[in-house]
């Protein structure tokens, strides 16, 4: 259990001496997900996008973010959830993701932005190991906020495309 907790701790990439972190949460197929707010660069509305040929379906294409070319991932498709029409609530959360030896700016398209919560790391619980869900790999941990449950994203895994 302790080992598992350590693992979780790493996944969340939490600082040892900093118990409480702020998480930006968003909705996707009725579920609420959270990302460390420090990785969030900006939130944009859905805009016209340039398709990249022969890319995986969840890579919607690239946008121009003030002169930088930024790829946008459709998180529904990434999670294998059925796609929906993009609507006025659809947003793109632009994130700075620390990958192995580089830092990439990427966007995720989600159904809607929800809220910002302060979450203490020790509240996060490991994802129950369910063999039938591939998506467990993208989730670093689960926390309860009031009556709701929020899944904290493992960005490295999610964005490793």
């Amino acid at each position: 259990m302790i080992a598992q907790h350590d693992d979780l701790h790493n996944k969340l990439n939490l600082e040892q001496d900093q118990d409480v972190k702020q998480f930006l949460t968003f909705f996707m197929a009725e579920e609420e997900y959270g990302v460390d707010i420090l990785t969030v660069q900006e939130i944009r509305s859905w805009e016209e996008i340039t398709v990249i040929p022969n890319s995986p379906d969840f890579v919607k294409g690239v946008i121009n973010l003030r002169g930088t070319i930024v790829p946008i991932i459709d998180l529904r498709l990434r999670f294998g959830i059925s796609a929906i029409e993009y609507g006025p609530l659809t947003v793109v959360i632009v994130l700075k993701v620390q990958l192995e030896n580089t830092c990439k700016i990427m966007g995720i398209a989600v159904d809607a932005v929800s809220d910002v919560y302060s979450i203490a790391e020790h509240e996060a619980k490991a994802v129950p190991h369910l063999s039938d869900s591939d998506n467990a790999q993208f989730v670093a941990g689960l926390v309860n906020v009031g009556e709701k449950m929020v899944a904290l994203l493992d960005l490295q895994k999610t964005m490793d495309i």
Binding site: I52, V62, V70, P71
Partner: protein, 693 residues
């Protein structure tokens, strides 16, 4: 006042390297016995400047070495010595040696003087100044060891003294600084007011100076006016008693080794051993800075000026209430802004542009050295040296070009005997030609040698398994084989070309610069290598095309033509490849929408357009729905935040802010499966099929 001389070092090195380049170029132009005075003068001036600068900045090793060069050149310049071929060779070696010395010094390292000393001895032998040279330096300077002496100085300027720009008053002040000075002025010669010529000097002086300085210090003060005044310096009651020395005797410079009395003999203030605190680091010190012509900077300043005016106009408009009239002027202002921005962009890009002579200039020497080694007679022609291209591209162009030129000299040009036997001019010609074509620079390396030996290349390619014996290849296709990896020229490896670096590396290096290289050759007539490069790596001239709702950019450099397809000329090869017969060629048609998996594009051939492009000497037609505008685009990386995409070389941002992808032709051909990487097979096969059917 102390001044840190090291701040001038970089400029000194830079101009010295330029001077050496100039020397080298002029030396290569020299034909002993027919030398032209201006050429010698240019060489002399370069050596002279390097010597002056190195002496001043404390690089005495360089100064000493350049001194002998300068002396020899001076004698040749003055006509007292005839220029020989040996001199030219020796001078060329000295240029190399100096370059190496300066590089070492620039890198703040101790130079190895072995070669310089050897060369210097040779020069001194020629000049007949061996042995004598060291002694003059050692000539004793001290005249007396005494502490204080009193000198009587009689100074009677000639009437014209003022017209030499000299000022007795300042000289007297200088004298006073040497010690205790007593002054007597004589006005006897001053004429009465009616005869007084106001521009003439009629005064004379007698001074008594008590000083611990040597007599030479006094002589130095009057050095400039010794011909314009009567000067007598007498030592009163010194060690040697009343010894009278007249200035005329002491300062007869033509006889005495003049170094002793001049400040020149004083060591430069900077300590040569102390490494100079130059910030720039060693080897790449050259490439981190760029010298820009004043005219370019001036035109930039002008443009920024215009931009500021436009901006002021627009912001003024912005403050006004918006009416019909303001909208019109707003539009006008924006058009002006667009114009300014474009001009500015073009001119900023021009800053990085340098004439290709920077690369060309190394070839006269290279060709001279190699042709001597190979015992061939070669004339090098340089054309279009003023053609400009991006500095970065230029730096990377040098090596491939050296390889190609060596190749031409080694394999292309025949020996004198062979040329004469073939009825050709015994002197072979290698021509480097550069010119702009569209947004590209084209560099041709031509020789009038024997041309590529297709039989030999074919055998080689079969042996190396690049083609099979049954393959029928045209001469051009055979010539193309030399660019393939695995086509080693092992049995032809000579000292000069070859040596493991093959043409495939040349092609790869040039393609890495988004360029292309191809060869044309005719047996017995010669071969031409043509390098095509974009002028800059940051900007590309693009043709915007539409496929369904997607906009792509095709580099203009690759486009040969765009046309409407004549269906009667299209035949189907194999399962799904359409080939268009265009004049005498067969152009495979690539359906971009298929390759890129886009839906909604026009699929019928007669409704679409075909853009014929070329890469790796392979022509293909790209099927597009529509041709849009042509524009210059700034290349952006897709890999920075995403990853490499096959068939796409990068992205750019269009005027409306949307991202558009740039098509990578060579990647596209691979993607289409038309050609296996590194092989010609498929294409040739399909062609053979076609011709058979």
């Amino acid at each position: 006042m102390s001044i840190d001389l090291s701040q001038f070092f970089e400029v000194f090195f830079e101009e010295s390297f330029e001077g050496l380049d100039a020397m080298e170029a002029e030396l290569l132009n020299l034909v002993p016995g027919e030398e032209d005075l201006e050429t010698i003068n240019t060489i002399f001036r370069a050596a002279h400047s390097i010597k002056g600068g190195s002496g001043t900045f404390g690089f005495s090793a360089v100064a000493d070495f350049t001194h002998v060069l300068e002396t020899l050149l001076d004698q040749i310049r003055e006509g007292s010595r005839d220029l020989t071929a040996e001199h030219v060779n020796l001078l060329l070696k000295s240029v190399d040696c100096l370059r190496a010395l300066l590089r070492t010094l620039q890198a703040e390292q101790q130079p190895d003087l072995t070669e310089a000393d050897e060369l210097r001895i040779k020069f001194e032998e020629i000049l007949g100044m061996r042995a004598a040279s060291k002694e003059t330096e050692q000539a004793p300077e001290a005249v007396s060891e005494s502490s204080f002496n009193t000198y009587q100085i009689d100074f009677k300027p000639h009437h014209h003294l003022f017209k030499t720009g000299n000022e007795p008053l300042y000289m007297i002040s200088e004298l006073a600084e040497l010690g205790e000075l007593e002054t007597q002025a004589f006005q006897d010669d001053v004429p009465d007011i009616t005869n007084l010529a106001p521009e003439d000097c009629f005064l004379s002086w007698r001074f008594f100076l008590t000083t611990d300085k040597e007599q030479s210090c006094i002589e130095e003060i009057f050095e400039w006016v010794e011909d314009d005044a009567d000067i007598t310096i007498t030592l009163c009651g010194g060690l040697f008693g009343d010894e009278e020395i007249t200035a005329a005797e002491t300062v007869t410079e033509d006889v005495a080794p003049a170094q002793e009395v001049e400040p020149a003999a004083v060591k430069p203030a900077t300590d040569p051993k102390k490494p100079a605190p130059v910030k720039a680091t060693t080897a790449n010190a050259e490439s981190t800075s760029i010298r820009v012509g004043i005219d370019k900077v001036d035109s930039l300043i002008n443009m920024v000026g215009e931009l500021v005016i436009t901006q002021a106009m627009l912001s003024q408009l912005g403050e006004q209430e918006i009416t019909e009239a303001t909208i019109a002027s707003l539009q006008e202002g924006l058009a002006q802004l667009a114009h300014n921005t474009r001009d500015l962009q073009e001119n900023v890009m021009r800053i990085r542009m340098l004439p290709i002579s920077f690369v060309f200039s190394r070839f006269p020497r290279l060709v001279r050295d190699i042709s001597q080694k190979l015992d061939k007679q070669v004339e090098l022609k340089l054309l279009g040296e003023q053609t400009e291209l991006d500095k970065t591209v230029m730096e990377k162009l040098s090596d491939p070009m050296v390889h190609l030129v060596r190749n031409s000299l080694d394999h292309g040009l025949e020996t004198v005997d062979k040329r004469v036997a073939a009825g050709k001019d015994p002197v072979g010609t290698v021509t480097l030609n550069a010119f702009h074509q569209g947004g590209n620079i084209v560099i041709e390396i031509m020789d009038d040698g024997q041309g590529l030996n297709t039989t030999k290349i074919r055998e080689k390619a079969i042996k190396n398994g690049l083609i099979s014996e049954t393959d029928e290849l045209s001469d051009n296709e055979i010539n193309e084989l030399i660019f393939l990896p695995g086509f080693s020229t092992a049995d032809q490896v000579s000292d000069l070309s070859g040596r493991g670096v093959g043409m495939d590396v040349v092609r790869r290096n040039i393609e890495a610069l988004s360029g292309s290289v191809e060869v044309a050759s005719a047996p017995g007539v010669g071969s031409t290598f043509t390098i095509r490069l974009p002028l800059t790596l940051a900007i590309l001239d693009g043709q915007l095309v539409r496929i369904a709702e997607h906009t792509y950019i095709i580099p203009l450099i690759s486009i040969i033509e765009s046309l409407q397809i004549d269906i009667s000329k299209v035949s189907r090869v194999g399962k799904d490849l359409d080939v268009l017969r265009l004049r005498d060629e067969y152009i495979p048609i690539l359906r971009l929408y298929n390759i890129f998996n886009h839906k909604g594009a026009i699929e019928t051939l007669d409704k679409t357009l075909l853009v014929v492009v070329e890469s790796d000497n392979q022509k293909v037609g790209l099927l597009v729905d529509d041709l849009l505008s042509q524009q210059q685009v700034v290349i952006k990386s897709l890999e920075a935040n995403y990853q490499k995409v096959d068939g796409v070389s990068g992205a750019t941002i269009l005027g409306d802010g949307r991202v558009s992808l740039i098509v990578d032709i060579s990647g596209l051909i691979k993607l289409s499966g038309l050609r296996k990487p590194g092989s010609q097979e498929l294409i040739i096969e399909s062609k053979a099929n076609l011709e058979a059917s």
